[in-house]
Every structure is written in structure tokens, then in C-alpha cells.
């Protein structure tokens, strides 16, 4: 046997490909950058860019307020001042909670309706032929164009807003699920069939688990999309509500508050997304391994 080798030796082959390392779920080599570094760096980059944009001062602070102005608005929004709480009569967290609760309900309904709809579209061709165009039709309608219809049907309170968010969120979920169903591998379906599975059992034991990763991707897109729609949903009677606050203060040219709202929306969405991805890691870890 040749003796153990020195570290200065020649090598053969390419060092571990990052493409495959990623796929194997391997982490970066030990002793490298700590994991908290990345979100901090990301936040730093964004705030730095923003600060630089305002510092060069070519745009009026009225439209792009500086970080310090927004910080000031933030302080206002969480304190009582002039005897009134926060902004527009509510603290920031009350606004946020109101919107979050609408989004949670909208997206929950979207899951409840969109996932089975996607399953049906993916599984049953005549239904897809019939309902597919209706779904593509619905999912591309602009909320600002039909929101008044929702108001006449569901009133000016939360119901119509939740409906709007639901309409925004259901389509990505259905589409992803339908695509996932279409990619369920036939040999797995066959395996369950020869074990005696009926259609319902094929769906339960094979199609549904196969579709989990797609469902999660759809859910992530849907939640993001619901957030982008929150301002549209809260243009009428949207206080308390983070979108309603943004919309109302923007009209008053309190763009510091509007930007504050936009940032709060963004951060909340990032955290939600992070949560969903943790869930995914836990429940769809097999994905891509086979």
C-alpha cells in the first residue's frame, strides 16, 4: 500500500460540484460563514441601497422618504401621541393584525378550495377541459376591476376583503397542484393499483403525497400574491389594516407612513415564507432525492 498522502499532493477530478452538493442537501464546508450572516447581510444591503438612494437626494423625500423619516413614522405608529394611539387611531400591530387575519382567512379558503380544485383539474380530463378555462379566466381578473361587485355581494366589511384575497390566492394553489398531479409518476400509481387501490385510494396514498411539494410552492406564491393584493382589498373601509393605512396616508402624502407599511408588509411576508419553508423541509424532504 502506498503511504498516506500529504496535503500538497496532486488531485484527480473536480472538487465537489456545488450543483450536486446542493442536491444532496449538503451544507457548505465547516468553519465557513455563520447562518445568521445571510439575513443580516440581505437586510443591510436593502437598507444601504435605500439610504444611498435618498442620500444622493435627486428624488424628493416626499416620495422616497429616508430611513430616518420612516423610523420616525414607526415610532409614531407604536406610541400614543396627541392623546391618540398610533396612526389613524390604531397601533401599528393592530393594523398589521387586521390585515394578517384577513390574509390568513383568504389563504385558508384558497387552500380549502384551490387544492381540491387543482386535484380535480389534474385528475379528471373532462373537468379540466370544462373548468380549466373558467379558472384561467377568474385568476386573471384584476381585483380593482371587480371589487365593487364583491362589495355588493358581501358588504363593505371583512367578508368582501377576504373574498378578494381568496380570489387572488386560489389560482396559484390550484395550478401548482394540478401540475403536481400531472407529474405524479405512473409506476407509483400502478403500484397502488395492483395492491387493489380504487381511485380514491390512489389519490390518497399516491397522488396526494406526491403533490405536497407542489402544493407548498403554490402556497408560497399564493401568500405572496395575497400580500400584493392587500392594499387593493383595503382601499375601501380598510382601517384598521396595514394596506388601508398605506393607501390612506399615501393620499395625504405621508409617504413615510406608506413606505413604513410597505416595509412591514414585506417583512411579515418574509417571515411567513420562512415558516412555510421550514414546514416544507420537514414534510417534503424526499423531494428530488428520487
Amino acid at each position: 500500500m502506498t503511504p498516506p498522502l500529504q496535503t500538497t499532493q496532486a488531485t484527480d477530478g473536480r472538487a465537489p460540484s456545488w450543483v450536486s452538493a446542493r442536491q444532496r442537501g449538503q451544507e457548505a464546508p465547516k468553519g465557513s460563514i455563520p447562518s445568521w450572516f445571510y439575513p443580516v447581510a440581505a437586510t443591510g444591503t436593502v437598507v444601504g441601497l435605500w439610504w444611498a438612494l435618498t442620500a444622493v437626494g435627486i428624488w424628493s423625500e416626499l416620495i422616497l422618504p429616508s430611513p430616518s423619516q420612516v423610523w420616525h413614522a414607526f415610532v409614531q405608529s407604536v406610541t400614543e401621541h396627541d392623546g391618540r394611539p398610533g396612526l389613524s387611531g390604531y397601533y401599528l400591530w393592530e393594523h398589521l393584525w387586521a390585515s394578517l387575519w384577513r390574509i390568513v382567512r383568504g389563504v385558508a379558503w384558497a387552500l380549502v378550495v384551490g387544492a381540491p380544485l387543482g386535484l380535480a383539474l389534474g385528475l379528471w380530463r373532462p373537468f379540466e377541459r370544462f373548468a380549466g378555462p373558467i379558472v384561467s379566466f377568474l385568476r386573471s381578473l384584476p381585483p380593482l376591476g371587480y371589487f365593487s361587485l364583491l362589495i355588493i355581494w358581501f358588504g363593505i366589511d371583512d367578508t368582501s376583503k377576504v373574498w378578494l384575497l381568496f380570489l387572488a390566492a386560489f389560482a396559484p394553489i390550484s395550478l401548482s397542484v394540478a401540475a403536481g398531479v400531472a407529474s405524479t409518476r405512473i409506476e407509483r400509481i400502478n403500484a397502488s393499483l395492483v395492491l387493489g387501490a380504487n381511485n380514491a385510494q390512489v389519490v390518497r396514498y399516491v397522488v396526494l403525497p406526491s403533490v405536497v411539494p407542489d402544493l407548498i410552492t403554490g402556497l408560497r406564491v399564493a401568500v405572496g400574491f395575497a400580500w400584493t393584493t392587500i392594499v387593493a382589498a383595503e382601499t375601501s373601509n380598510g382601517i384598521p389594516g396595514i394596506g388601508g393605512l398605506a393607501w390612506a396616508t399615501k393620499k395625504e402624502l405621508r409617504s413615510d407612513v406608506a413606505i413604513l407599511c410597505v416595509i412591514v408588509i414585506g417583512i411579515t411576508a418574509v417571515l411567513l415564507d420562512y415558516g412555510i419553508r421550514q414546514f416544507e423541509k420537514k414534510y417534503a424532504g424526499w423531494y428530488g432525492r428520487w
Binding site: W59, S60, L62, I63, Q76, D82, R84, L87, S88, S148, I151, I152, G155, I156, T235, S236, N237, G238, I239, G244, W247, A248, T249, K250, K251, E252, L253, R254, S255, V257
Partner: protein, 319 residues
């Protein structure tokens, strides 16, 4: 949903609804004073609950009324004229304010008269009182729609486009208007000037016809509070400005400045022939005809319909 839906109940015997749903807008007038100072809640006590719903434009208020979602709302005279022309069943018991210098046509330097706007781009929020005023001003200066590029834009987008240099002028309201003039914008004409030429614009209260007929007492109470707010604006402008500033999340000084650019009338002034007594109906009818001529609306109702839409009795009876 508004109280006009829950028709027959205990409320009717007392002449008071269980609740009043009010659609308000963030416009610095008495309505915000009433809201912020809790005047209505105080006046009604526990008998009637009051719900305030924020709207972003007269158009949304019109829709909410059509949807039966509110009882009383605030709309500009343009959406009001349009609403009556389309047959929305509501009436006007009160004028929140007459738009004075708060809405105006501001132009970039180098443009000194409306005639200079020929070939230029002018922005305004469509279907608003400003839009109406702009078209009236252009017609008055002998310009047709094809001479000027009129584009639709939300107020904050107007400011952005102005700073970008994409537009040459804009007919818009505060606070954007103030920023345009502060940024070198020159006021070519204001709504106050147009008012002198018979093209007055207003912020109006609208109440659904069903609410007005069912609950006259409640409506009267509501109007009395509005009258009180006007009194406060006139007598304690700093106090009123503070209330408004709190509602709008702006400094009190700004609120005070904005208040000064609107004209407020108390109940007895409103009841006169110039306003609720006849002038307003003529104004709304004329506005409708003007819009019809420009192709902005499809049809105009009989003049009587506009008369019928004005309620004078409440202002007359106000305390």
C-alpha cells in the same frame, strides 16, 4: 351593511335606527371634526351605534351606496352629479364645503396662461371635482380636449410625474397641490376662480333616500353635529385643525392651512337660494349637461330629478 337593510325593528318606533353607517373621506372639513371629536356618538348616546368607514374617492362611495353598505357618505359634486344622473337613490342634505383654493390648476414655470397649455400634458384624477374643473377651465379658455393631452392619474402619482418632468400641469387638490406650488408650480386658475364663472365644485353629503325617509330624526341629529363642526372651524380653528391633523396623521399647521383653502357654510347659509335652496341643483344639472356634451356620461335626467335630490328642510331646521 346599512341600517336600511334591517327594515322593521324596534328602532323604527323611536324614529332612530340601531346603527348608522357613515362613509367618510380624508378631506379636511367638518366631517373629520365630527368623527374625531366623537360628536355623533355623544349626540346619539347608546341608542344608536355609529360606524365610520373610510373611502378613497367619491366613486367608491357611490358604489358602496349602490351596494347598500352605507347610509350617509361624502362625495364631490362631480360624482354626485354623475350618481344622480345614473339614478342612484340618494339625496343631498348638506354641503361639507365649497372648494375654494384647495383645488387648482398648477403649471410648470414657462406656462403662464391656460392657452399656453396647448399641446401640453395635464394630469388630473378622472371623475373627480378637479377633473370637472379642469375641463371647465379648458373650455372657458377656448381649448378643446384634443388640444391638450389630459391624462388620468392618482394624486400621489401626479406629484411623482411632476417631479419626473412627465407632465406640464395638473389640476389637483391638497396636499399635492401645495407641493406642486412649493416646487415652482404656478397656479393658473383655482376652483374659487371657476366658482366665480358659475362652475362651483363642492364636497357634499349624500344620504340614501330610504334612510332619509325612515329616520328623519337621526338625519337631523347628524346634520346638527355637522353644523356644530362648522362653528368650531370658524370659531376655534386651531382646535378643529388639531382634530383634523390627528385624523390625517399630518402636522396641525398643515391642517390649518388646508382648512383655510376651503369655504365652510353653516346651516343657515346653506339653506339659502344660492346653495341648497336652488343653486346647487342647477349646478349639478349643468355639470351633468357639460359632461354629456364632452361624452363623459351617457345621459342626463330631467332637471326636476336634480331638484328632488336636494333636501333643504334639515339645514333650515338645524340648531
Amino acid at each position: 351593511c346599512g341600517s336600511n337593510d334591517d327594515s322593521s325593528n324596534a328602532g323604527e318606533s323611536t324614529g332612530l335606527p340601531e346603527k348608522i353607517v357613515i362613509g367618510y373621506q380624508n378631506i379636511p372639513n367638518g366631517d373629520l371634526v365630527v368623527k374625531h371629536d366623537g360628536l355623533l356618538e355623544e349626540a346619539f348616546g347608546d341608542a344608536v351605534s355609529v360606524e365610520w368607514k373610510l373611502f378613497d374617492s367619491g366613486g367608491s362611495v357611490n358604489e358602496a351606496i349602490l351596494a347598500g353598505a352605507i347610509d350617509i357618505g361624502l362625495v364631490g359634486s362631480s360624482p354626485a352629479s354623475r350618481g344622480i344622473s345614473s339614478g342612484i337613490e340618494y339625496q343631498i342634505p348638506w354641503i361639507f364645503d365649497v372648494i375654494g383654493k384647495a383645488e387648482a390648476l398648477a403649471a410648470k414655470s414657462g406656462i403662464n396662461s391656460i392657452a399656453d397649455l396647448k399641446g401640453k400634458t395635464v394630469a388630473t384624477p378622472f371623475a373627480s371635482t378637479s377633473h370637472y374643473s379642469l375641463l371647465a377651465a379648458l373650455e372657458d379658455a377656448g381649448l378643446s380636449e384634443s388640444d391638450v393631452k389630459v391624462i388620468d392619474s392618482e394624486p400621489d402619482a401626479i406629484l411623482a410625474a411632476w417631479q419626473q418632468g412627465d407632465i406640464d400641469a395638473a389640476y389637483v387638490w391638497n396636499p399635492v397641490l401645495a407641493k406642486l406650488t412649493a416646487d415652482g408650480g404656478k397656479v393658473l386658475i383655482s376652483s374659487e376662480d371657476l366658482s366665480k364663472k358659475g362652475k362651483t365644485t363642492y364636497d357634499l353629503a349624500v344620504v340614501t333616500t330610504s334612510f332619509a325617509t325612515k329616520y328623519p330624526a337621526a338625519l337631523q341629529t347628524w346634520l346638527n353635529q355637522q353644523n356644530a363642526a362648522v362653528t368650531k372651524i370658524r370659531e376655534d380653528v386651531d382646535g378643529a385643525a388639531a382634530s383634523i391633523a390627528a385624523e390625517l396623521n399630518i402636522p396641525a399647521a398643515d391642517a390649518k392651512k388646508q382648512l383655510s383653502e376651503l369655504i365652510f357654510l353653516n346651516a343657515s347659509e346653506q339653506a339659502g337660494a344660492e346653495y341648497l335652496g336652488g343653486g346647487l341643483a342647477r349646478n349639478l344639472f349643468a355639470a351633468a349637461e357639460f359632461n354629456l356634451k364632452l361624452g363623459k356620461i351617457e345621459s342626463v335626467k330631467e332637471e326636476a330629478a336634480y331638484n328632488a335630490a336636494i333636501l333643504t328642510t334639515y339645514a333650515s331646521a338645524a340648531k
